[in-house]
Symmetry: C2
Subunit: 318 residues, 2 copies
Amino acid sequence: MNSADRLIERIIKTANPSVIGLDPVITEIPDCYKLGREVKDDFVAEAELIFEFNRDIIETVYKYVPAVKPQSAFYEKYGSAGIKALEKTVAYAKSKNLIVIEDAKRNDIGNTANAYAEAHLGKVCLINGETAPSIQSDFLTVTPFLGSDGVEPFINACELHKKGVFVLVRTSNKSAFEIQDALTDRGITVSEALAEYVSAVSERCVGKSGYSSVGAVVGATYPEQARALRKIMPKSIFLVPGYGAQGGSAKDVLPCFNEDGLGTIVNSSRGILYSHTSVNERKTVTKEEYLKKVKNAVLTMKGEIYGALKSEYPNIIY
Amino acid sequence: MNSADRLIERIIKTANPSVIGLDPVITEIPDCYKLGREVKDDFVAEAELIFEFNRDIIETVYKYVPAVKPQSAFYEKYGSAGIKALEKTVAYAKSKNLIVIEDAKRNDIGNTANAYAEAHLGKVCLINGETAPSIQSDFLTVTPFLGSDGVEPFINACELHKKGVFVLVRTSNKSAFEIQDALTDRGITVSEALAEYVSAVSERCVGKSGYSSVGAVVGATYPEQARALRKIMPKSIFLVPGYGAQGGSAKDVLPCFNEDGLGTIVNSSRGILYSHTSVNERKTVTKEEYLKKVKNAVLTMKGEIYGALKSEYPNIIY
């Protein structure tokens, strides 16, 4: 099975098209995780904290969500120790059958793009001439600024290794229009041209589910736009950021879905990890109390999205 | 001194506006570096090979070039062990007074962009509430696909920590036009709009040299375009890729420079590291023979660029 099929299977099994962003921020993690750790100048204590926090989050959510999305920046902060925490997080998530979407927005051309694809989706060369897998994510986010020859090496890796990508097509931030709404030489916007490109290459990675491992990052700010992009990319799974803490609601994300209730996975990071616990509460909350809030936030989000989907699309297949 | 001043000082001192790309590719590194290493499944042998190769390259070039540019992808391939090799490479280069340009093309928005900026240019938060520097590059390459609010956090870090960025403005690859030549709502291309943005924010980071730590990645494919971008961004240093192996010549890069012979740093990676030694020669070449070829390639490139600059701009200040 390719990454799309595995993700769709998990979405149906959990009846939950959402993904938990694993964005470990040390200043926001409750104090109970920090006690008894000795800080040195090698970031090992920070990396251990991050992994143990993630492990508890994964243990709490894995029965209810199909996927997790570690955001690379929060691990890169702590250098090689931080990447070690990322590797352990990915391995632990996979041991719980979670799909791992590595949000790293990689981009380059030629042999450098190839190297990124090998690092995050494929296999890397060893001294003895053999190859071995490295970080082993199921999906990687990819930024298409350099044009199609900067995306192609990632698509090749998806085909070869049955992995997936989410190509940034239209983001939801305030200044997204500056580049993404510019008009290409074909008289359509950059986002529309990217959607057509994604649609074309997605055909190379369609699984038994009918969905492709070549997906798209699509913000849910404008329902009309999401509907239009959905039509251009019928087989691509949309990764939709910004649920909860960033202001998005269940109703906002509906146009991103197909009528089968599939085709989209909605991300929440802060809403699941932090925003339910005040700065003051973080000082005294126990791990048990805190993880209960995390679980409640996951189930609330699941209920909201599933409820909205069911009332909008009565033929949802799960 | 900010990163721009330090780079300009080094360019003048070495009379060489070029940068060596540190792209360690295990299949291209000569066999003499691989002997006697035991391969395990933790990538430590590969990471040690990469660092020792880089150390020899740095030792060979540091007197003749102002800067090195490690490309993150080639280190990420080997996970946390690879990032350890990157950290050691950066530290070693800085101990030799080289300016380090980390080519990682990072991009995101909000607190994630902040996290990238902290990781690569600023300081990161520790468990005890204090902060410490992490990877410590002088410059980071940044991809602006998400718009100005995705670049702003990096500019803030440059101001705060006296570090620098090179924002991708116009790349030289075949499909670069797809997005970078699209027309914005102001009737100019994406690249021109980016150049105007870079010019505006570059004012916030101008050093005593008159140059800003906010630079631009500009391909040297079209001389007219390079000249136009040079005019829009008079205070920004251009990072120009593609010298040597990728087909660019000294004449091609001249329009990127100002008349003082400054304002641009030209990168060569393969041309310095690999293309002077055939696949067959890599099997038998000794380290001494190989590093002599590296040194010759560096001096040849320096001679070509300096010669072309001197004949085009008689008032060059070094």
